[in-house]
């Protein structure tokens, strides 16, 4: 071996002079790492120089050790700095480079949609559930007595004309009209069933399909209703107004006016219908109602029927009408869905045209 001190001197000087340029000329991470390895890698020049250290006389070893280590430290630091710069440059290049084609479709299954009726059903139920109402259920095929008699429909009375009924065929003749099975014409059957099984107080809403023998441009033989019932001591018509006003304003907007009109349903008294301001022409907000077809220029849209539970209903289900009072209401989910989503024709709701189902 020659002169280790000389070699070291020369080697260290060589490395010190060249490493920065070498790093600077490396165009990418790989090249940079290669340059780095040439110096400090296992086969690197600096590593080789370090190995000469043991041949250096002991009195200078400390000095060279220090110098070599400092150089190694400088190299490493410079390398890391260069690496950072490379990364930064690459990131900058990407950030200022061409954009992704974000108009290509997303990956994965397309989301389906709930039917408008289901969506409205859940929206409405949520409003009532937030008020403390339970949800109840009942069969779609029920007995005449649950659909009419116990609700106080007089037999052979024109009130039953309001709801033309589908009857279910039975092999044996039915002895009593009350036992005749039919497709429920309203969800009010659930009132009767719930009260027969439960003692007051109770507060329920009951959604479901109902059926009437009516099939024309504005009627579907099957449609959906929600029935509501609240029974307790001291329930008054003022409570009924409060709950239904709140319901309508939560569903359609806090500023929508609500109007209660007397009407007749055999199972409530006093009975009423509720109109809300037409949400299409919005006359209360300065809109022009003349020429508005959804409300026929009246500025009002009929939205539900309601009333105080008739004492005869309480008598039929075994409640004491002197002690308990209550209110009931019924609304058409279809109708509200049509208003909310601007569906022009009820038949669209049941045609199951996928283009309609997926359109909103």
């Amino acid at each position: 071996m020659g002169d280790p001190v000389g070699q070291l001197e020369q080697g260290l000087a060589q490395v010190a002079q060249t490493y920065e340029a070498a790093f600077a000329s490396a165009g990418d991470e790989h090249a940079l790492r290669e340059e780095n390895a040439k110096i400090v890698g296992p086969q690197g020049t600096l590593t080789a120089l370090m190995k000469l250290m043991r041949d250096v006389p002991a009195e200078r070893r400390r000095e060279f050790g220090k110098r070599a280590n400092r150089l190694k430290h400088d190299v490493t630091q410079r390398f890391e700095q260069a690496l950072k710069q490379l990364f930064a440059a690459a990131r900058q290049a990407e950030l200022s480079g061409p954009a992704l084609d974000v108009t290509l479709p997303g990956r994965g299954a397309r989301a389906g949609r709930l039917h408008a009726i289901s969506r409205v059903r859940y929206e409405l139920l949520d409003v009532f559930r937030a008020l403390g109402f339970d949800v109840a259920d009942g069969p779609e095929i029920d007995l005449h007595e649950n659909c009419f008699d116990k609700l106080g429909f007089p037999p052979d009375h024109p009130a039953t004309d309001m709801q033309d009924t589908f009857y279910v065929h039975t092999d044996q003749p039915i002895e009593r009209q009350a036992q005749r099975p039919l497709l429920r014409t309203h969800t009010s059957t659930i009132q009767v069933r719930t009260m027969e099984q439960t003692q007051p107080p109770l507060a329920i809403v009951a959604p479901g399909a109902v059926y009437r023998r009516d099939d024309d441009a504005t009627h579907s033989p099957m449609f959906f209703q929600i029935e509501g019932l609240l029974v307790d001591e001291g329930v008054s018509f003022a409570d009924l107004k409060g709950v239904l006003t709140l319901f309508i304003q939560r569903t359609f907007g806090e500023d929508v006016p609500v109007r209660f009109r007397p009407s007749y349903f055999p199972f409530v008294e006093p009975g009423g219908e509720v109109d809300m301001g037409c949400t299409f022409c919005r006359p209360w907000a300065g809109g022009e109602r003349s020429g508005c077809s959804p409300c026929k220029s009246s500025g009002w849209i009929e939205i539900l029927g309601c009333g105080m539970v008739h004492p005869v209903v309480f008598e039929h289900v075994g409640y004491d009408p002197e002690r308990y009072t209550g209110f009931a209401f019924g609304l058409g989910i279809d109708r509200i869905a049509m208003i909310k989503y601007g569906v022009p024709n009820i038949k669209l709701l049941y045609e199951n045209d996928i283009r309609f189902l997926s359109s909103f």
Partner: protein, 850 residues
Amino acid sequence: MRASHKWLCELSGVDADADECAARLTGAGLEVERLEPRGVLGDQVVIAEVRGVRPHPSRERLSLVAVDDGREPREIVCGAPNVPSAGGKVILAGLGASLPGGLTVTPKTIGGVESRGMLCSEVELDVGTDDGGILVVPEGSKVGTMAADALGLRDTVLEIGLTPNRPDCLGHVGLARELALLFERPFERQALQRPTRFTEGEFVSDGAARFDTTTLYQKESPGEPTLSAIDGAEVPRSVGVTIEDGERCPRYGATVVLGLNVAPSPFWLRYRLHILGLRARSNLVDATNLVLLETGHPIHGFDLASLRGGQIVVRRARPGESLTTLDETQRALEPDDLVICDAEGPAAIAGIMGGANTEIRDDTRHVLVECAYFEPRGIRRTSRRLGLHTDASHRFERGMDPQAIPHVLARATSLLAELGNGHVVRFGLDVVAQKRSPTTISLRPERMSALIGTKVPEATSRRILEGIGCQIQTDETAPGKNAAHRSWSIEAPSWRPDLGREVDLIEEVCRIHGYDRIPTVIPRVRPRAATPPAIAFERTARETAAALGLHEVISYAFVSASELEAARAPTEAVTLENALSEERSVMRTSLLPGLAAATARAQRRQVESVALFELGRTFHPSRESPNDTRSSKALPDEQATFAFIVAGLRPTWIGNADDYDFYDAKGILERLVRIATGFQADFRLSDSLDTAAPWLHPKRRAEITVVRRTVGAVGELHPAVSEALGVNGRPVYAEVSLSELMLAQSQSDLPQARPLPRFPSVTRDLALVVRDAQTAGHVAEFLRAHSDGLVETVTVFDRYLGSPVPDGHQSLAFRLVYRDAEATLTDKKVDEVHQRLVHAAKSEFAATVR
């Protein structure tokens, strides 16, 4: 109910405009659905006087009518056959006039003669139905005045949607009473407009009576004819009324008017009927219709000469009897039908329609007027059975006012005599077979306040109750009790059959006082939290299915029997007795027909990718007797069912698209079941599907189980079923019972948290070539079972068919995750177990390692 605003104002003394009247009526529960202005003719439609008529120079059937409207004398071309001679008054529509039919009058040249205006018929003016000629108005009409004013045409028709509990408002008098009350005006029931020539009938309670037609009114002026001089026709010397069925006809009144002359009614009457939707016929018929519209009570006029034996018998029809009604239809009668008979047989179907044999004809001179009370339910039964709904039956089945009979008869008799220039017989008959006592109701003011939620001032309550016709008889507080026990004893008016109990009166007060005056209160709801879990479960199922890419459909629950057959669904179904059509006559036993129909519809409309679900009920007949009241099973079984169908292209990312297949459906089910229940869905082959789900392809289907409970089936539709249902391709269909799924969930313990593994796992892949009939699941299970518990999971990650894998074989690639719960596995240990597994699998499945 159509009502004339003008008439209502006359009867009620109210002078508010139609809009205001409508608003008040609607606010009181008599919903005015539409306002229809009538007699809007404008100032170009005026009375003109005919100055002369000459033939048209070139057109044979036309004439030139010289008219003067006080502004511009002119000649009008006219084709009417009834142009009056000079001095006659007609209606001229001048240039620019727009007529109700939409016609605007412009100058017209007909056969070389220019006509500046037209002479109008009733139809052109929409004031009647006569289009056989022009309308000729009374000579006294002032030339140049607007026709609408001269003829009194201006009116507004209120179209009122009456609820069935308000028969009292089926006539103008009843509506006027409401209106007067709503405008806080006193309402005087119209004074009996009986002619001085009428004496009220005798009261007979045994259900039968006769009266003598020869006892004519005592003539005031000498020279009026006696009966024998009136007519040579055979008029019965006496008329009798017998009620045989007092239940069905509690009260029957009759009067006789003699010596009538049939003629057209005066214009005002024809116009009133016209705008209210009735066709004017002749004075006698029009008179009965006017009384109907005025009082609301139907009356019927019999041609007295045709009434055999001068006898009215009210009875039930006898077997085999029939009657040809006014509409010239022969109606077979049944013993439940109430009929009005003469001495020999039926002359009218009581309360529904008269018979052709006794109808008022053009030569009728003598009329027997009937005004009766018929029991509503009976009228309704017969009316429905015959499919004959008339103005009369509509009213009787809602309940008429029995006490109104004398009044209505008096009004009818006087009107008939006046219009037909006839003579009223001195005695009428008013036969009461069943006396009705007035309804008395006690009303507690405190109870009323509690129910309404506010206190209505007592004076207001009294005014309202009296305004609807109630009589407040007493006002008492029970001895020793406080005001809460105060009660009013109230007699309800006879025209309000709907008032029977306290709450009915409370409603009246509430209704007239106004719902808008009742405060709005949010009640305290006492929570029970009794919502059945199925409600939330159904919602989760719906929302998850939608999130997984399925659109929800809602199909009619009724289908046709042939659809069920095509779908191979259970054909033992609930059948409707009165279906709208064969296509919708049975209740579905499967959701497949609805989903298949929606799929076929989408395919017809070139929708490439169909993914639909429905959650609804299927219906299955009960075996129990419907007459067994104790059985809760008498009703059909309703099964909450979830089903979905996928067909056509699977939406993939850009690139080649494939069709949906079994595994798409399986994947949807796996995720759905996991989300809805928290458990895994398992899929297995099962021969029981041959009968449980015959609509599925026998080789491409699986039974779905959750926690070992069978919940449904999934598979490609059987090609024959697809074909029968009209769907293309290879749709995959799944049907799941929600109740079974919920049971599977509720009967299993909740999964409990376990400690996370403390030692690392080791992964090995293994590709085996096995026969292609070999299920991957079986191989995977075998590998796991033979690993001494060291294999934690086995997943299939590839399946390959084709060269170099030999025919009839497949290559299945598994990823095995090894883990020892108690120690770190060494490679050596894993290699050892893995080799053993490979060896075992090779011999078990005749497999080779690839």
